[in-house]
């Protein structure tokens, strides 16, 4: 950026009071150039082509149209896996969030005054968070066998790392006054934490956990693709058999369930804040 500013002179203005101010040369050309390079490389690597998209897009609409009307009677086979998906998300989110609390406390530098522990715990949280949920689900199916348990483990790992990160960042911003006052009177760390810090972080903690749960319901729907249980199993199966009306019904059920859960959870979160 510095080189760029040197290459192109800044524009100088003389104000009415005799002062001169300068405005740096616009960076727009540079940004546009970088964007163009990015787009060209990406188009070249991915083989993106608008003509192909427009000539073949009818195939997309055909599949979409064949999902309508959804086969309503199929709902009797859908509700059980759907419920299982929600149960998986709930179980995984609950224990993930629960497990995240001690880790967040260990990662927060204002409570745990030990740089090594902070960094190690943060590193664990980061490593777990970078692994995509579907990949951890796949690995879990290898270790625990096909079934819902593998999916629950994957959701647990995701909730753990997500809530853990959000929570430790929040703990570091809380008001430490009361905590210090209580330690000064001789309270030990756990006692001081529970009485002064915990009430401050509780609403954020719960609302983060709910947010993770919301997202997990949506996400758990595809875990079945790798054999980790839930509604994704039948979704994958019906797409394979090209029974698109059943696929439509499955998607409709997911839609309704997600809307209900999101509404309830958003109300709860509004109440918490």
């Amino acid at each position: 950026m510095k080189l760029y500013d040197k290459l192109f002179d800044a524009e100088k203005f003389t104000l009415t009071n005799g002062k001169t101010v300068s405005q740096k040369f616009t960076r727009m050309p540079l940004i546009i150039l970088m964007l163009l390079i990015g787009i060209t490389v990406s188009v070249w690597v991915t083989g993106f082509s608008l003509t192909m998209l427009f000539t073949n897009i009818t195939g997309f609409w055909q599949i979409l149209a064949s999902m309508f009307p959804p086969k309503l009677s199929y709902f009797f086979q859908v509700w059980r896996p759907l419920l299982m998906t929600i149960q998986m998300s709930f179980f995984g989110s609950f224990f993930g969030s629960l497990m995240a609390l001690p880790f967040a406390v260990l990662a927060a530098s204002n409570i745990t005054n030990n740089r090594v522990i902070n960094l190690v715990v943060r590193f664990i949280l980061t490593v777990v968070r970078t692994i995509p949920t579907l990949v951890s689900a796949l690995i879990a199916t290898y270790i625990f066998g096909l079934g819902t348990f593998a999916g629950t483990v994957a959701i647990f790992l995701f909730s753990f790392s997500f809530v853990g990160k959000q929570l430790f960042e929040y703990i570091e911003t809380v008001d430490m006054g009361a905590y210090e006052a209580l330690t000064a009177t001789g309270a030990d760390t756990p006692r001081a934490f529970v009485t002064t810090i915990f009430p401050q972080i509780l609403p954020t903690y719960l609302s983060t956990a709910l947010f993770a749960f919301e997202g997990n319901v949506r996400y758990a729907a595809i875990l079945g693709y790798v054999g980790a249980g839930g509604i994704g199993m039948i979704l994958n199966e019906k797409i394979g058999w090209r029974e698109f009306q059943s696929v439509g019904m499955i998607l409709l059920s997911i839609f309704v369930a997600v809307v209900i859960i999101e509404t309830v959870s958003q109300q709860l979160r509004k109440y918490l804040s």
Binding site: V45, T46, I131, F149
Partner: protein, 269 residues
Amino acid sequence: MNKKLETVLSKEPSRRVQYSITGAILLILLVSSSPALGGANMTSKGFEIGWNILTGIFTPDTSLLFGLGDSGVAYLILQTIAIAFLGTLVGAVIAVPLSFISATNIVPRPVVLVTRFIIMAIRTVPSLVYGLMFIRVTGPGPFAGVMTLAIVSIGMISKLFIETIEDLDTGILESLDAFGSTLFQKIRYGILPQLGSDFISILVYRFDMNLREATILGLVGAGGIGAPMIFALSAYHWHQVGAILIGLFLLVFIVEILSDKLRQKILHG
């Protein structure tokens, strides 16, 4: 601890009833969700595989990890980034008009309800389903991944765009009107400066998310680093799995740090 303080602390309003009701509800929900634990049949083989994956990560296939060819981790990462980048851009192109016609301060309420319902419906379909649908359009490969991410991004991008648009300060537009600006000037000096930085920051954030999404699209054959990983996993090539996992970790980690920095810079100068 001080006696006086103990007595003060014990006088705090007791929330025992509230807590126990919440606890009971949670317990009931947990018990009723226990079928989620079904299907666990961990054998010694499972343990062995877990161990193999771990050793694979620490002894990665270096020719794959540092290889520069078409199947090397470097190229796969480049392809994944390209898919996420282009997917975000195409998604943004679709999301901008969609969010303008879903903002309550621009169009009437009934229209907003319809468009928001459409956005919500688009958001519900899982990405892998879009991936399978687009493969019929473009054939398997990264192009399908780009289109999938574009559609998947629409939901979140437009939701955040709508919030930004609804926060528009119309006072600026009125004052521009008052000294006789043309429509183009109003957009250039009244609207773009207000929306620009927020829009770009949202897109950078979504790019970060799309990158994670792009790593799994390979499962349905839509390109990216996911496909080779599946092959390596199902063929029990643990050293290759390790190499790809390391690449994946570095990719997501570095992009997350960069995008956080960039967004800080865009939003706070």
